[in-house]
């Protein structure tokens, strides 16, 4: 294994943090290649990973219910969907881990979706509305953070001194748990969803900055020479070379950022007393957990879907924007 010459790509100490996250997301490319190119033998969607994931989810659900069948709490049914039945099942073992409080039956969770609250509104609708609320905050944060990140990166790439002084601070900023500062930002600023967006933006901007800087420098040295041979201005080099070269890196960062902004939005909502979003739903469900355990799990499912959904949106956008780029070979990340 050869070592590369020491090079101050980003000046000073390693911006290891989000770089690492980037590499992480580069695996996403390895697993779900950005595009199945015309050259690479047809546009087959890779079926195995999807099937595999579904299989794992099913396996988990099987263990869930299976564990309860074997060692959970006993259950009694007087009626199912209106039909009177008399089911009185006692599992052979007694494992406290699989109690109804820890892991309610799957149908209890399903039922929680269908229930109506005191105003007659179905819980599903409530959850979806909450998800939208959180999504708006996450989206605002994402746009804010991504713009800030990109702008910062452009400044860093062009102003060497700025890079040497700012980057280490930026790296240190990410070792700061923004979640510690979030309550102060959201409550102190009293800015409602804007405070939430700020928190989300904070978690978003750094990976984007690092990715953008890396991407903008990723072009072959000779491409820069080529642009110099055209006497291209800095602006032209940015437009024609740096930004397009950075696009794949940016999308990798956007994938992380998508998740991070959802997390940021939820974290922002938590201490703020704002109950309109998913954090509010989670807190509510937590309060009434002993009465209605299904509600918490339902909220978790919705939150998970939101996270995956945002991620999927970025993947779709990536396929569109990067469709002409050279497809990365699976497993060839970096």
């Amino acid at each position: 294994m050869t070592t590369e010459p020491v090079h101050e790509e980003l000046g000073g100490p390693d911006p290891a943090l989000a770089e690492a996250e980037l590499e992480l997301a580069a695996d996403l490319d390895a697993i779900a290649p950005r595009r199945q190119g015309r050259a690479a033998g047809g546009s087959r969607v890779r079926v195995r990973p999807i099937l595999g994931s579904i299989a794992i989810v099913i396996a988990i659900l099987v263990v869930w219910e299976g564990g309860k069948w074997l060692g959970g709490d006993p259950w009694r049914f007087k009626s199912i969907l209106g039909f009177p039945v008399a089911i009185d099942y006692h599992p052979p073992f007694a494992w406290k881990f699989f109690s109804d409080l820890n892991f309610p039956h799957l149908w209890v969770i399903l039922e929680a979706f269908v229930r109506r609250d005191s105003n007659g509104v179905p819980v599903t609708v409530l959850l979806v509305e909450a998800a939208f609320f959180t999504f708006r905050g996450a989206l605002a944060g994402f746009i804010l953070g991504a713009s800030l990140g990109l702008g910062l990166a452009i400044a860093l790439v062009h102003i060497r001194l700025l890079e040497r002084s700012l980057v280490p601070l930026l790296v240190a900023s990410q070792t700061v748990p923004i979640v510690a500062v979030a309550p102060v930002i959201v409550v102190g600023l009293k800015a409602g969803w804007f405070g939430i967006a700020l928190v989300a933006a904070y978690l978003t901007f750094f990976p984007v900055t690092i990715a953008a800087v890396r991407g903008m420098r990723s072009a072959d040295q000779r491409a820069f020479e080529l642009m110099r041979s055209y006497a291209a201005s800095d602006r032209e080099i940015l437009l024609h070379l740096r930004l397009p070269a950075a696009a794949p890196y940016l999308f990798t960062a956007f994938k992380i950022a998508a998740t991070a902004s959802v997390v940021g939005a939820i974290v922002g909502e938590l201490p703020s007393g704002i109950r309109d979003g998913l954090a509010g739903q989670l807190l509510n469900a937590m309060q009434y957990y002993s009465i209605q355990p299904g509600a918490l799990w339902a909220a978790i499912v919705v939150a998970s879907l939101l996270g995956i959904g945002c991620f999927a949106l970025v993947v779709l956008a990536e396929r569109r924007v990067l469709r002409n780029y050279r497809p990365t070979e699976p497993g060839a990340a970096t």
Binding site: P5, R38, A39, A223, E225, P244, Y325, R326
Partner: protein
């Protein structure tokens, strides 16, 4: 952009030298080039050949104002190297095609035209004409990575010619290709050169290639690079496959080889620190 004067000097180098200061504190500077005197006239095809580290790529980049010169003077097209670059008097081809992934083949050739602000219709027409010149007219809509290495290099050549430059600078453009493709590309390059009017400076590692392509071969010594000998190639102007079998061809190849050997006497003693040249000066 090309002046009609047939024997006008396109490049005049006088006493050119280049010293590299190393990027780490306290290391000795490296003398890449010293005392280079060379005049290249309109319509010539001049090869620079020499051992690794002799500075031939550096010299090329000095002509292209991609590297500042340390000493001596340089005139390109009668102007300073920087002026010539700003006026876009030359086109450059590297060892790697350096095509942009996100542009189609035609888009890549249009790049210099965009930067110089040509209108869209003119750009497309010119790009297509250049691609026809290199016989890739059918591939305008393809993406670069769909083409073979040789084809990509041809696109790079088309791009270099897009602005109809007076001078073509080529840094081992066929170095990454296999021998057979290389010979084919040599022929194609000569055809293209015949049809355009450009002067070519061509850096290479390969003696047969240098002799086959050029009107003159400049043999350089090991670092610090100086010109060992300039050999005029008096092979017939129109060259083809059979040229490689002429006796004169072999004589010239031998002459170049001997000149190279003479120049190798200056090989540097191994240094204390690990030295790594990046990007050029192969």
């Amino acid at each position: 952009m090309t002046e009609p004067a047939a024997l006008a000097p396109v490049v005049e180098l006088s006493g050119v030298s280049k010293t590299f200061r190393s990027t780490t504190v306290g290391s000795t500077p490296v003398q890449a080039l010293t005392g280079i005197d060379l005049t290249i006239r309109q319509g010539e095809f001049v090869s620079l050949i020499g051992p690794s580290g002799c500075g031939k790529s550096t010299l090329l980049r000095i002509v292209g104002d991609l590297t500042p010169v340390s000493g001596g003077t340089i005139l390109v097209n009668g102007k300073s190297a920087e002026r010539a670059r700003r006026d876009r008097d030359y086109g450059m081809v590297f060892q790697a095609p350096v095509l942009f992934d996100w542009r189609s083949v035609q888009g890549n050739v249009e790049l210099p035209l965009e930067i110089t602000g040509r209108p869209a219709g003119e750009r497309a027409a010119r790009a297509k004409a250049m691609l026809d010149l290199v016989e890739l007219g059918e591939f305008t809509g393809h993406q670069p990575w769909q083409l073979s290495g040789g084809m990509q290099q041809r696109v790079a050549i088309a791009r270099a010619l897009a602005l109809d430059p007076a001078l073509l600078l080529m840094d081992e453009p066929f170095g990454a290709l296999d021998e057979m493709t290389r010979e084919r590309m040599n022929l194609e390059l000569l055809r293209i050169w015949e049809r355009t009017d450009t002067t070519v400076i061509f850096v290479t590692h390969s003696i047969p290639e240098a002799v086959f392509l050029s009107t003159r071969v400049v043999v350089m010594s090991a670092r610090p690079g100086r010109i060992t000998e300039i050999i005029g190639i008096d092979l017939p102007r129109r060259r083809d496959v059979e040229t490689r079998e002429l006796e004169r061809y072999f004589e010239l190849v031998t002459r170049v080889r001997e000149a190279l050997r003479r120049g190798e006497g200056n090989a540097p003693v191994g240094g204390q620190a690990r030295v790594r040249a990046e990007g050029l000066s192969a």
